[in-house]
Symmetry: C2
Subunit: 296 residues, 2 copies
């Protein structure tokens, strides 16, 4: 069994690390939040002094951080992973970050004889706790094969999609589709409600046709109850779409609709809704159209 | 059994009328295309001389026409339905038109003692042939109950959603969602392909999560094969979205994303793709990004 280092013990990282401990792995952990680290130590993990210290004691290092700058800092910065890591180790970055950052960090690690995988997840806190995340992986097949079992303790679906960066590209594609499917519901259902048609009946009439989607089934109950407790917060979806726009511009791919839905989410953030579930996007339409889309 | 008049024997109307004949209904039919009428006469229908003539011989009149202007012309114009129709008859307009036109035409008919339902369909030619369309109905409950069995011969799902106009409002909501779900696939998969990730693997990695949809499962095989035979043509989706924009503006509902996806479809029409399936929307992104999203 590999010795595992785990850096980043937030809402997602903490339950993911716990699932590795439960399976019997030796874990060295690190987080700037001392309390989060202490919680894991109670569960049997060893406390690391820095990312570099964690790396020096591990064969497989997992990072689960907010965004690209934090990954750069933790891996390449002072006392970073790169300072302590041993040749032959594997770094699995499970953060959702810009794919180009994954590539840049991987290149720096390669010079130290370390292979990196980017392996962002989808599914949120409940699936992190249950170990049933969807994990989208980029990197070499042989490295993927080496750590597949470890990833399988955190995810129900673990898929290698391509080279380094492909995991995050896939995550961005996922987030673009989810954002637009949710926005489509908002635009369509607000129109129906303002026209005096019961949105619940509209949903019943269209859900089994070509308009049907997982997002429609997941978000319509929230919308009909006017309850937007997260789930996945608008501010996190904004972060992902900013990374999508950055990537689209670097690659010269049109971002026509992604840019628009990002603007809608930013407008909701300005209106104090950043911590709502992204299903709350419909509130942008409700407010401008002066109508409520919910059960009467 | 009611005597039925059927006006509009195009790609959709012809098989729908045939399903009524097969069930044993007496049909009087009319179309400006004489050949289409002759085909139905061979199948046992009676030829009408004009919409008014059809109406004078029918208790239930069904119209299946391209758009709002044609419905106005056939119902309210010279020798129109309104000239021949008898008090107590029912008009079922199964065309996909602007909801406000449905309301206006229904008001005119009411003055003649005729009740109108708007009952647009979803599902395309194959489901018209099989009698398995989704039919979204607006109008009074008692009129719906009277003709429900007739609609059931053409549709697998027949749902009353609200007052007159509600059928077309529901259809517009459906078309907004479908257009945006399809465009989302285009924007996301072109980004993935341009980044060098295999779109088929992206699809496999995301389809069972929150990005999953009926449109994704229906259109990805077309996209991967680069085959955009219709199906539902881009030019028809443009028509529906124009009606959606008109309705959104009349009701003061934001049309942020619908307007954008309409512009993309219009750009494809200008590029000679009007008769492609709407799944071919991805070609807008492929051309601008200079990449092909298909199996290599």
């Amino acid at each position: 069994m590999y010795k595992i280092g785990f850096i980043g013990l937030g809402i997602m990282g903490k339950p993911m690390a716990r699932n590795l401990l439960k399976a019997g792995y030796q874990l060295v952990v690190y987080d700037i939040n001392i309390d989060a680290m202490k919680d894991l130590v109670k569960d049997g993990a060893k406390e690391g002094k820095s990312p570099g210290d964690v790396a020096s004691q591990s064969e497989v290092i997992i990072t689960m951080l907010p965004n690209s700058p934090e990954v750069r800092e933790v891996v390449l910065g002072d006392n970073g992973v790169i300072d302590g890591v041993r040749s032959g180790s594997v770094l699995i970055d499970m953060s959702s970050i810009a794919p180009l950052t994954s590539k840049e960090v991987a290149e720096k690690l390669q010079q130290k004889g370390v292979v990196m995988l980017d392996a962002p997840v989808s599914g949120g806190e409940p699936k992190a706790i249950d170990g049933t995340l969807a994990i989208m992986v980029g990197g070499p097949q042989e490295t993927f094969d080496k750590v597949k079992d470890i990833l399988g303790l955190m995810g129900a679906s673990v898929k290698l999609v391509g080279d380094i960066g492909s995991g995050n590209i896939t995550k961005l594609a996922n987030q673009i589709i989810v954002a637009l499917n949710i926005a489509a519901i908002g635009e369509a259902m607000t129109l129906a409600a303002k026209a005096g048609v019961n949105p619940e009946r509209v949903y019943e009439a269209i859900k089994s046709g070509l308009a049907g989607s997982t997002a429609l089934d997941a978000k319509m109950p929230m919308i009909l109850n006017g309850n937007f407790k997260p789930g996945f917060r608008i501010e996190l979806h904004i972060k992902d779409l900013m990374n999508a726009l950055e990537t689209a511009r670097e690659l010269n791919v049109p971002d026509t609709l992604t840019r628009k839905v990002l603007e809608i989410m930013q407008s909701l953030k300005a209106d104090g809704k950043a911590k709502n579930d992204h299903g709350g996007l419909i509130q942008y339409y409700e407010k401008l159209a002066d109508v409520e889309v919910r059960k009467k």
